[in-house]
Symmetry: C2
Subunit: 305 residues, 2 copies
């Protein structure tokens, strides 16, 4: 492990801790935003779905892409990151429902509809999606109104019909009719790519960066989004190969085509190296300051868990 | 029918038509907000859940509360009203799900999870909630950034944990443990009151009105929200009394206490008259311009369908 990698690991861990604490505050059962108390069981279901010790990769990307452009955006980036994590967690809670992916476990814990019930899981997800926009717009997020509006709009588009939700629809359809290569690329860019891209672009919006910088961070986000998905597909294949003694994993079992299953493991590994190279190229103009984001791209491409 | 009432009916109808057309545009399957197409089946499910010829009372309230303060806010108010209707429709689609109220029919048509499937209904609802914030923040909504941020924040709070979603949680819990009078008032203020209050307050935000005006419209919204719920409870009771030949309706059958079941029909009718009087008092300073909103309060209190 080189020194950049060690620094990255340390920052990933420390950012995750502060994000966890921020989320715990925002999801406090005692917090009041108006005259009405927060229903106790709803808050328990929401907290179960969010406060589970995740890596908090998306908030990390918001925080580091903002830090790339200056030190004074840390507090705002933390709140934007927390809002984004609420959207990510809402999508997991809804995706786990019986009518969707029907998963009973997440991170070794019962999913929300198992620990509570289906209604609680639906409403916890709805609450988290709504809360994300509350957090972005709230006075406590110390940003200019223009930046807030850009964040609201970008997040709504990344999470909505042309982004994450649309991608989930295509993903469910893919179980019945396997898409071709172009279809898989579109599906993945929407389902997982859009939020990761938003995370990186958010740093530029928070820092009120010029258009070229924003475009560069947006493309960096797209690139590591592709790497994230490819590494995920590879992991699904290789983890199952080793542990289950068969050549196809969960995706294949569900009939989902992936680029790895279409084009092979070697192609995927080469493509991952290429994507890391592209990410480095996009970050080159930022010099030393970008070391952490370069390391992030490597981590995403090489992760084996 | 007096002339104010006739004018009200005509405006309710014409506003509903323009809202319907605006929603149909916003939910066009061909519309693109980025590089990706809108998934066809998702759009069909969303359109099924929204374009059903509803009264569009909430957009009407946004449009009329803005019109009270000037004529130049009409376009912005229409878009804000459409965003609010997306939130209202998302809540109906999710509330109808088997895990929630389990309703097969709405307005005589199969509900979204019946016409499509449960996954489609969950994702259609998620899409509509997300789209509402997209519409508010989009450049096409011609408002100052500050007004947009206030609308995003107010809508998120009206729809979220301390508002509509929280109210739905309390409502589901009320089927098991009937709440007392204070509990019913809180539940109803959250579940149906919050969005109606937002609708009226939105007019003041759109028109950048002073604090006193905003407060007045907010209180008007609270007042007609109470009347709306009371009329609904009365309707549930009397409609069933006449058609089913029994004294208790759907709410009572589900074990839900209402203020009408606690305090009786006569009390409810007196209280409705009182609320209309309060609404008139709140609108008095606006003079003639407020005739339509006065008529709206009467319509809400007296509606029998």
């Amino acid at each position: 492990m080189n020194s950049h990698s060690a620094l990255f690991q340390q920052r990933l861990k420390s950012h995750a801790e502060v994000v966890e604490a921020t989320l715990a505050d925002l999801l406090s059962p005692d917090l009041r935003t108006g005259e009405t108390a927060r229903p106790e069981r709803l808050m328990a279901a929401i907290r179960h779905g969010v406060l589970n010790g995740g890596k908090r990769l998306r908030p990390f990307l918001v925080m580091e892409s903002a830090a790339l452009l200056g030190d004074r955006f840390a507090c705002a980036a933390l709140r934007v990151g927390a809002a984004l994590e609420c959207v990510h967690c809402y999508s997991l809670v809804h995706d786990d429902l019986p009518a969707m992916d029907d998963d009973d476990l997440r991170r070794g814990q019962p999913t929300v509809h198992i620990a509570f019930d289906e209604a609680a899981a639906i409403l916890a997800g709805d609450s988290l999606l709504t809360l994300a926009f509350d957090i972005l717009a709230a006075p406590e997020t110390a940003l200019a109104d223009r930046a807030k509006i850009e964040l609201v709009l970008s997040l709504a588009r990344a999470a909505g019909i042309g982004g994450m939700v649309g991608g989930q629809v295509l993903d469910l359809a893919a179980e019945k009719t396997p898409p071709d290569e172009a279809g898989i690329v579109t599906l993945q860019a929407m389902k997982t790519g859009a939020l990761i891209r938003f995370a990186c672009e958010a740093g530029a919006i928070i820092a009120d960066a010029d258009g070229a910088t924003r475009d560069r961070l947006r493309r960096y986000g797209e690139t590591i989004g592709l790497a994230f998905q490819l590494a995920d597909d590879l992991l699904d294949l290789t983890a199952d190969t080793q542990t289950m003694g068969k050549a196809t994993g969960k995706d294949a079992a569900r009939g989902k085509g992936t680029l790895v299953s279409l084009k092979g493991q070697e192609w995927a590994e080469n493509r991952l190296n290429e994507l890391v190279g592209e990410a480095e190229g996009l970050l080159a103009p930022f010099g030393e300051r970008a070391n952490i984001l370069v390391e992030t791209a490597r981590f995403i491409a090489n992760r084996r868990s």
